[in-house]
């Protein structure tokens, strides 16, 4: 059974591509054949975050136009055997995406034995974002604990309920879960940042996980290595938890409370 997952948010810069890279890497690392598709036509970045930008020859739009075979356009990750990337085109625009072609590509990926097809949505709620979510079975809605991001996430939840293939055939709804990123428990404690509970109350969807604000995210994108592969950091731990939960295992939520730093770590940490 294959699962199509969209990583979406409405607002830009909240961590969709970072999340796609980490979750795809985490799932693939556990042995599932996984492909991450970049739907951000014109502004491709997933290849860069995953560190395979120099090996991109063909892209998603070439496949849709029949200019390249799908198995030729797929870029295989050098570190994780079962991880593949289908990069977006850097030169075309979002009108290159049409439901027929996208649907055909997703079906072909399923027949190639991909268990998880992870669609990295562009920001906004226009065609690119709607194409990324159209064939989804599940959605990971990425939000920051901040007013504009939460509002946009709610809009996206409205679209997931109305403008997807599942909605059009009145099938089971797209299973949507919240991933709250750039979370700072210290600010929440001071009452200066929306808490997990606040955001859950507002959006009314289950929590997939909380990713703490951390410089490890910047460092990993600098290197082109998903943070999840550097298991030392709290971001890696948080994304590992998310991957386990996503695959149906129970994991207690972490990084919601401020961790007490002992005097020793304060002085030498």
């Amino acid at each position: 059974m294959s699962k199509v997952v969209v990583v979406t948010s409405g607002k830009g810069g909240v961590g969709k591509t970072t999340t796609t890279a980490n979750i795809a890497a985490g799932i693939a690392q556990r042995g599932h054949k996984t492909v991450a598709i970049d739907f951000d036509v014109g502004l491709r970045n997933l290849d860069l975050v995953l560190g395979c930008e120099r090996r991109v020859v063909y892209d998603f739009v070439n496949v849709l136009r029949g200019e390249a075979k799908l198995n030729v356009a797929l870029v295989r990750d050098k570190r994780i055997e079962s991880l593949y990337v289908l990069p977006a085109s850097q030169t075309r625009d979002k009108d290159a995406l049409e439901p027929e072609g996208v649907g055909r590509t997703i079906e072909e990926l399923k027949s190639m034995g991909f268990e998880y097809i992870i669609c990295d949505s562009p920001a906004g709620i226009e065609k690119g974002a709607q194409m990324a979510m159209y064939f989804a079975d599940e959605a990971i809605v990425v939000a920051n604990p901040e007013v504009s991001s939460v509002r946009d996430s709610d809009r996206v939840l409205g679209l997931l309920a109305a403008k997807t293939s599942r909605a059009e055939v009145a099938g089971p709804p797209v299973k949507s879960q919240l991933l709250l990123t750039r979370y700072s428990p210290a600010l929440v404690k001071k009452g200066e940042m929306l808490s997990v509970t606040d955001v859950l109350d507002l959006l009314g969807i289950p929590l997939l996980g909380v990713i703490p604000e951390s410089k490890a995210v910047l460092q990993s994108s600098n290197k082109g290595t998903p943070a999840i592969l550097d298991e030392e950091t709290d971001v890696a731990q948080a994304y590992l938890d998310v991957v386990h939960r996503f695959l149906g295992e129970e994991r207690e939520h972490r990084f919601i409370e401020e961790t007490k730093r002992g005097i020793f770590r304060r002085l030498f940490g």
Partner: protein, 97 residues
């Protein structure tokens, strides 16, 4: 004075954010999540009924759906002018009660 401001309790910005969001999110959901234009259709129907009895100003009618916890409140505000329509049926009286 900054010294006294320190003691004056100010609402925390996170709770302000939550209050503002709960209003805007509820308002925007009305259009997208509850059927296609449900409220504007209801508004038109209600107007048609009211117009039979009262001279009403289209700009003075508002229909809102507010969500407080598990409870949805449908709020209808109609401003009724003082002079009733001359050929109004008797039912118009009870409407204003």
């Amino acid at each position: 004075m900054a010294f006294f401001d320190y003691f004056r309790r100010q609402p925390k910005s996170a709770s302000l954010a939550k209050d503002r969001l709960s209003v805007i999110v509820a308002r925007e959901r009305v259009g997208t999540r509850i059927g296609p234009d449900y409220l504007s259709l209801l508004q038109q129907d209600l107007l048609a009924v009211l117009a039979k009895y009262e001279r009403i100003d289209l700009q003075q009618v508002s229909v809102n759906l507010d969500r407080t916890g598990d409870c949805d409140v449908l709020e209808l505000n109609v401003f009724l002018p003082n002079a009733p329509v001359t050929d109004a049926k008797p039912a118009a009286k009870s409407l204003r009660a």
